[in-house]
């Protein structure tokens, strides 16, 4: 069972203060909600670099190879023989390689986003509130029952306009 405390904030600097204080107190894992990406929050959370780039690289390389492969394979299978011209020619086939690199690389990037961000999500997670997509910031701290009081105190001290527990 997930237990934790959620604080809703109107101000950005109050949210940053709460993140700093909760990290210092080591109460549990934090999830921060924000209506728009803010560098201040990213600096406070200090997350690892997103691995989405690996999906992009893998997809792009696969696409580039697949583009050459499909053009060469089809041309060899059904050759259109014109005197003096090679069956498999790399210059026109680079067009297919490039296009498939972009296509598969782009779609892999989206797949990477979905996998890393955990979407599509069928149900709303505990601790989310609709106001976080409009104007408010939220900090959810997942912690054992004996630390809920401490989490609540920190959130209130930092200026949360609403604090509530959830399980």
């Amino acid at each position: 069972m997930i237990q934790g405390m959620l604080g809703a904030f109107k101000e950005l600097d109050a949210t940053v203060d709460a993140i700093d204080a909760l990290k210092k107190a080591r109460l549990g894992e934090l999830t921060v909600y924000t209506p728009t990406p803010r560098h201040e929050l990213e600096h406070a959370v200090h997350p690892p670099i997103s691995p989405v780039r690996r999906f992009t690289l893998a997809g792009g390389l696969f696409g580039a190879i697949a583009g050459y492969w499909i053009a060469i394979w089809c041309s060899e299978y059904w050759p259109l023989v014109v005197g003096g011209k090679a069956i498999a020619t790399w210059i026109p086939f680079t067009v297919f390689s490039f296009e498939l690199m972009v296509l598969i690389g782009g779609l892999s990037t989206v797949a990477g986003l979905f996998i890393c961000a955990g979407i599509p999500r069928l149900t709303m997670t505990v601790g989310y509130d609709g106001r976080f997509s409009h104007g408010d910031y939220g900090v959810w701290v997942q912690c054992p029952p004996d630390k809920l009081k401490d989490a609540e105190a920190i959130l209130r001290r930092c200026g949360a306009v609403e604090v509530r527990g959830a399980q």
Binding site: R53, L80, F96, V102, A117, Y128, G135
Partner: protein, 480 residues
């Protein structure tokens, strides 16, 4: 942190970009949601425009049905002019589709601030323009139901398309462009759809929006992956924009037709595409900002910056026209020289001069700052740009085919009512989708606009707040 603007009330104010404050009349995130979501309410004008668009589409659909029944002969083709209005319009719509990705991807990578408020419209315009363009090669086929023969799919005859043909390159380039542009638009929409979901009261609509938003919940981790994915999609889209119209230009440049077989075509087509796309952006965004009262989001500074881009690409295109003409003379080929004289001073002079006037001469007015910051003039000019760019493609395609090497091949070309009806139908198809889009989804990007609105702060920062009367009249700001 930038100082917060403090308008007296919620009424939009004259909007001046100042250092660190791009939209001074937008005071908080709630205002962004409230004003932009208000565009989703249908109005009588919206219904009227939609009806007109559907009527135009019906005209085009009827003409196509007639053409399928009677054959391609009703379309005004006159051998050897076997590429006419359909291919002209195909290139025209592909060009329109370029400004969207330019604004959303290239200007994103260059951190151009003025893109933020106009890119959603431009992206949607791109997707619908490419959808429209994609119809024309099919319309142009004698047996349109065989269009899939260009796709390398496994078949019992074990034959495959010719991968050395620019027409097959086109199939790959345009389908890739449509897929990536649609993906780019859709990914950017996810956080905004989540905002709509959270504001929605109707349970059925809320359920639909929940599915479309993929359960997005605005967590910092989601934003981090989102920002990285968006960056890479932009990085992929940037060379894609340049490649697609280059490949479309290869349809012409790879042939030996006089006036087509030139190395200048790829950059010339790309610049023309961006120019025409910016023209269509003005055609769309200026009425939207006026009728939805969004002048304090799409400010005069943003229009000014867009007009400068338009002016620059107009000059690139103008330079390409001059170079083409010069090389036609300087190259010394009598066939090329004949072709160019016929194009500019002969049989097709009227089309060539419409093109030169609309694309080279009228955009020079944008050297005037007053005209760059005059939405009415930009709107009127955008029509001339659209007209001029359609005629640019006409002037490239028809005079080339009607004046080839042998005098016995020389002929004319007159489009028929079927050509015109399908051209009108294409505008109906494009605007129908666009109007449906602006009714269902935010026409400006909620989450990105919030990024440039100063956040609420608990502690007072040492920036004096703007006094209510401090907003200047619209004068050049940081983007001007």
């Amino acid at each position: 942190m930038a100082a917060l603007a403090k308008p007296e009330n919620d009424m939009p104010r004259p909007n001046i970009a100042k250092a660190g404050l791009q939209l001074p009349a937008v005071k908080d995130y709630e205002q962004v949601d409230r004003e932009i979501m208000a565009t989703l309410r249908p109005t009588k004008a919206w219904f009227a425009c939609l009806l007109v668009a559907i009527f135009c589409l019906i005209i085009g659909g009827t003409a196509w049905t007639y053409q399928i029944h009677e054959g391609l002969g009703v379309a005004g083709y006159n051998p050897p002019v076997m590429w006419g209005v359909y291919i002209v319009t195909f290139v025209f719509w592909i060009g329109i589709g370029h400004a969207g990705t330019l604004i959303s991807a290239i200007l994103y990578l260059f951190r151009a601030g003025f893109r933020t408020t106009i890119y959603r419209c431009a992206e949607a315009m791109t997707v619908f323009a490419v959808m429209t363009a994609g119809l024309f090669p099919i319309l142009h086929l004698g047996r349109p139901w065989k269009f899939f023969w260009l796709i390398p799919y496994p078949n019992w005859r074990l034959i495959w398309p010719n991968f050395k043909s620019p027409l097959v390159w086109d199939v790959f380039a345009i389908s890739t462009y449509l897929t990536i542009s649609t993906t780019f638009l859709f990914i950017g929409l996810i956080p905004d759809v989540a905002t709509l979901r959270d504001a929605e009261k109707n349970p059925i609509k809320k359920q639909i929006l929940s599915v479309l938003s993929f359960g997005w919940r605005n967590s910092e981790a989601e934003w981090r992956h989102f920002a990285r994915a968006y960056l890479f999609l932009a990085a992929f889209s940037t060379p894609l924009v340049l490649s697609v119209h280059s490949i479309v230009s290869f349809d012409f440049a790879m042939s030996l037709v006089p006036g087509w077989h030139t190395t200048i075509f790829a950059p010339y087509f790309v610049a023309g595409a961006i120019f025409s796309g910016m023209g269509m952006v003005f055609t769309i965004i200026i009425p939207i900002r006026k009728f939805f009262k969004l002048q304090h989001y799409v400010t005069l500074n943003h229009l000014d910056a867009g007009a400068k881009l338009c002016l620059f690409t107009s000059m690139v295109v103008g330079c390409a026209y001059m170079v083409e003409f010069f090389i036609g003379w300087y190259g010394g080929s009598p066939v090329e020289q004949q072709y160019w004289m016929n194009r500019v001073f002969g049989q097709w002079w009227w089309a060539a001069w419409i093109m030169l006037t609309c694309n080279m001469i009228l955009p020079l007015s944008l050297f005037s700052q007053n005209l760059r910051r005059n939405p009415s003039w930009l709107f009127i000019l955008s029509f001339f740009i659209n007209l001029g760019m359609w005629f640019e493609r006409f002037v490239i395609i028809v005079p080339g085919l009607s004046h080839e090497y042998e005098p016995w091949q020389w002929t004319g070309y007159v489009p028929t009512f079927v050509d015109y009806s399908i051209l009108i139908g294409s505008f109906g198809w494009f605007f129908m989708w666009f109007l449906l889009f602006i009714r269902q989804l935010p026409v400006l990007a909620l989450s990105e606009i919030k990024e440039i609105v100063p956040p609420k702060l608990k502690r007072v920062h040492h920036h004096p707040p703007e006094a209510p009367g401090d907003f200047e009249a619209d004068t050049p700001g940081e983007f001007a």
